[in-house]
């Protein structure tokens, strides 16, 4: 009797890569559907030339276009390098669909369709395929596409009156009024992108993805915590100088729950391929992203710096991966102390500069 010795019957645990991508896929589709439904509920200004239904159709069209363009590019690429058979099962479609959906969700409702198509082409082709496809890229392809159109077509993507913009204006002019909190949580406000609105849904998705281990709590949790501490610190210093402490909480809340903060924590920052690999490096990465984001938000021209912040984090990922050689208690304690110090210094500097 002869036996095969090719691969051993190694017992593996129940975690699987495809299960994780499927879970993410499932959650993304729910978020996309919710984004469409939210557009129906949005109150349209009286003088507007469009109706709520027009907006809903636009959002639907954007999501579908994003998915199709992404799929077509991946399919053409698979024809060119002979990996066409991966499209035989639905498994092969999941990752392209996820990328397309995410790019569409990160753009505002007013985006012209050709801009969206360009965003997907740049994201999938330049961001993903040029590096060798899924698992090989160093920058998050979604953000590459979004950054590209944000830089090149910035005049077509102007959104006004998002809570963060109001906040920035208020900090400069000294008056600031917090919006209706319930409206903020449901997601009924002008936002920078179609997918970033409903806080309740995103938090639910966050919890679910954390339980299923798709999202690494050490990245997303550290990120959210850092943003919380930093925005509170910056708010505290500024309102302390101004003498009116009542709006610190409002400042922190707006920073936390609007904009891309939660959306990034759920879908972007803990994207495994472009983020670091060990416990300590993941925490450093999260803090670096949070600190860059807060710097851009408080000092930069952009209202929401998350895209550039995460791409910056991706950029330094190989470096932090190289610095760390071990992952044990000693390095963990050292890293944590270092990070607490960094957060404190950045918060105070930003607070005083502002």
């Amino acid at each position: 009797m002869n036996f095969l010795t090719k691969n051993p019957p190694i017992v593996m645990n129940s975690q699987r890569t495809y299960k994780r991508t499927f879970t993410l896929h499932f959650v993304l589709i729910i978020v996309a559907v919710a984004a469409i439904i939210l557009e129906v509920l949005t109150v349209v200004p009286n003088d507007a030339t469009y109706t709520a239904l027009d907006q809903t159709f636009k959002v639907f069209l954007m999501l579908v276009t994003g998915v199709f363009v992404s799929l077509i590019i991946e399919f053409l690429y698979s024809l060119s390098n002979g990996t066409k058979k991966r499209f035989n099962a639905y498994k092969g479609y999941v990752d392209p669909i996820n990328t397309g959906l995410l790019i569409a969700l990160l753009l505002p409702t007013i985006t012209p369709i050709y801009v969206l198509v360009l965003a997907v082409i740049v994201g999938v082709f330049v961001g993903k395929i040029l590096f060798g496809g899924y698992g090989k890229y160093i920058f998050n392809p979604v953000l590459v596409g979004v950054l590209f159109v944000n830089l090149v077509f910035s005049s077509q993507l102007v959104v006004t009156n998002t809570p963060l913009m109001l906040l920035k204006k208020a900090l400069n002019e000294g008056t600031f009024q917090i919006n209706n909190l319930t409206e903020l949580i449901i997601g009924n406000y002008d936002s920078l992108a179609i997918g970033t609105t409903s806080l309740a849904l995103l938090m639910f998705a966050f919890a679910y993805l954390c339980i299923t281990k798709v999202v690494d709590l050490r990245i997303s949790g550290t990120f959210l915590l850092t943003v919380l501490v930093m925005s509170f610190g910056i708010g505290y210093i500024n309102f302390y100088v101004a003498g009116d402490m009542s709006e610190v909480v409002g400042y922190t809340l707006i920073n936390m729950i609007t904009g891309f903060t939660v959306f990034a924590a759920v879908f972007l920052i803990s994207e495994t391929v472009s983020s670091p690999t060990s416990r300590e490096t993941k925490m450093i990465y999260a803090v670096v992203v949070a600190a860059s984001m807060m710097t851009i938000r408080t000092l930069g021209i952009q209202t929401d710096g998350i895209v550039i912040a995460i791409l910056f984090g991706n950029m330094i990922t190989p470096l932090i991966n190289r610095i760390f050689k071990r992952s044990n208690t000693k390095t963990f304690v050292k890293t944590s102390l270092f990070l607490v110090l960094t957060i404190a210094i950045v918060t105070f500097s930003l607070g005083y500069i502002l």
Partner: protein, 425 residues
């Protein structure tokens, strides 16, 4: 699933490998046509430092020498002995526990008591003479060697093979006293009082109770673990004792680490003068018609056992795996002899594993008990970066296989880390 206990103690012929993967030089003591008895030395094997006897496990005639695949998948020379079924054995020395001491439960600390009856040198000599040096070989288990300084003796009462193949608890229930005696003897031989037994929280209460009763006055520490999570418990327990990163060979850290089956063998060797003529082997897998725990004579061919188990199912492609599922060895034929180092054999249908790309999730980095970064090492190995492999402390890998276990992309991470280790050796 294991459904029954079986014995197979009278094979027609036995095959004993003359060398193994450490000791490569053999020196024969018998020739073809000689009659040998149970426990008689037929050959010595050398590894450069020590010589270990190869003992006959049956009485009968040496009928020749044959080249065969051994349990490490290497082709080595085997001595073939025809069994005359008389089971005559040579006279052996034994060191019985004095009756009075055995009855008196509340004697003082273990080591002094044993020293009154037998010395460390006697235990070491007896173990060396009876060839008890290698019993458990998978994972972190060490040889039974006392050439260096021994500070701790650790025994695993949970797994035959860490993880997944658990100990036969009937063995503990029926032999708890003897097992604990074996542990104390190991402590005496190593001149140490730090004796630790790893037990499972979810062990049958009876087994735990028997072990507790036997260890009560003897300064043996029982460490409870929770086996529901595979996280290299043995590594963590030993690391706590040693208080530094472990070597792949624990003997260098002054630790003898073995399973309780070994303790029972040590007891039998010292108190009864018995060499390892038979051993318990768990034979499992969906490829076999019957799964069983066997009491089998060392030297029996595995194919004989398969015949006794009514053969294989009619499956086209099968795997034959010896030892732990994470670190064991694959063989391409069932024509090999059972040795004292085999504790479990699995024959199952071949399942093709399609590896996905590495998504750099870092699950392997999190689970690694040695605190090194398998993903980064694999990356460096794939890019042939020697200096990076050294920088990442690859030599600390103990080859437990948990990185492969944790990988969601089903990549055999350990294979790459092993290759990296070999590269910088």
């Amino acid at each position: 699933m294991i459904t029954e206990y079986r014995t197979f103690l009278s094979p027609k012929k036995i095959y004993l490998p003359l060398t193994d993967n450490d000791s490569k030089i053999a020196n024969l003591s018998v020739k073809e046509g000689d009659r040998v008895l149970v426990g008689q030395v037929v050959s010595y094997k050398f590894n450069g430092k020590t010589k270990t006897p190869v003992l006959s496990t049956v009485s009968g005639t040496v009928v020749g020498f044959e080249e065969k695949t051994d349990r490490y998948s290497k082709i080595v020379k085997h001595i073939v002995i025809e069994n005359d079924l008389l089971n005559e054995s040579i006279e052996s020395i034994n060191y019985k526990v004095k009756e009075a001491q055995n009855q008196l439960r509340n004697y003082p600390k273990n080591v002094t008591t044993y020293k009154n009856n037998i010395t460390a040198a006697q235990v070491r000599n007896q173990l060396a003479n009876l060839g008890i040096d290698k019993v458990s070989v998978d994972g972190l288990y060490t040889d039974i060697s006392f050439s260096g300084e021994i500070k701790h003796v650790v025994l695993n009462a949970v797994f035959t093979n860490e993880p997944f193949i658990s100990t036969d608890y009937e063995l503990i229930i029926h032999n708890a006293e003897d097992i604990v005696d074996g542990i104390c003897l190991l402590g005496l031989a190593g001149d140490t009082t730090s004796l630790t037994v790893i037990v499972d929280r979810f062990m049958p209460a009876e087994a735990l109770e028997e072990l507790g009763k036997a260890t009560v006055d003897r300064d043996i520490e029982l460490v409870t673990i929770d086996v529901k999570k595979a996280t290299a418990w043995d590594y963590k327990v030993i690391k706590k004792l040693v208080k530094k990163d472990l070597n792949i060979n624990l003997l260098e850290d002054g630790v003898v680490y073995t399973s309780i089956q070994t303790a029972l063998m040590v007891h039998n060797a010292i108190r009864k003068g018995l060499p390892i003529v038979k051993r318990q082997v768990a034979i499992t897998g969906d490829g076999l018609k019957i799964n069983a725990v066997y009491d089998v004579r060392v030297g029996t061919l595995f194919s004989d056992l398969v015949n006794d188990l009514e053969g294989y199912y009619d499956i086209d492609y099968m795997n034959l795996h010896i030892g732990s599922f994470l670190t064991g060895i694959q063989l391409d034929s069932d024509d090999f002899a059972i040795t004292q180092t085999i504790d479990s054999i699995n024959v199952s249908e071949y399942r093709k594993v399609e590896e996905d790309v590495c998504i750099k999730c870092g699950d392997c980095n999190d689970i690694c008990p040695a605190g090194i970064l398998p993903q980064n090492i694999m990356n460096a190995e794939l890019k042939n970066l020697n200096s990076r492999i050294i920088e990442l402390d690859t030599h600390l890998c103990v080859e437990c296989g948990l990185c492969t276990y944790a990988c969601p992309s089903e990549i055999n991470v350990m294979k790459w880390v092993r290759r990296a280790k070999r590269r910088i050796k």
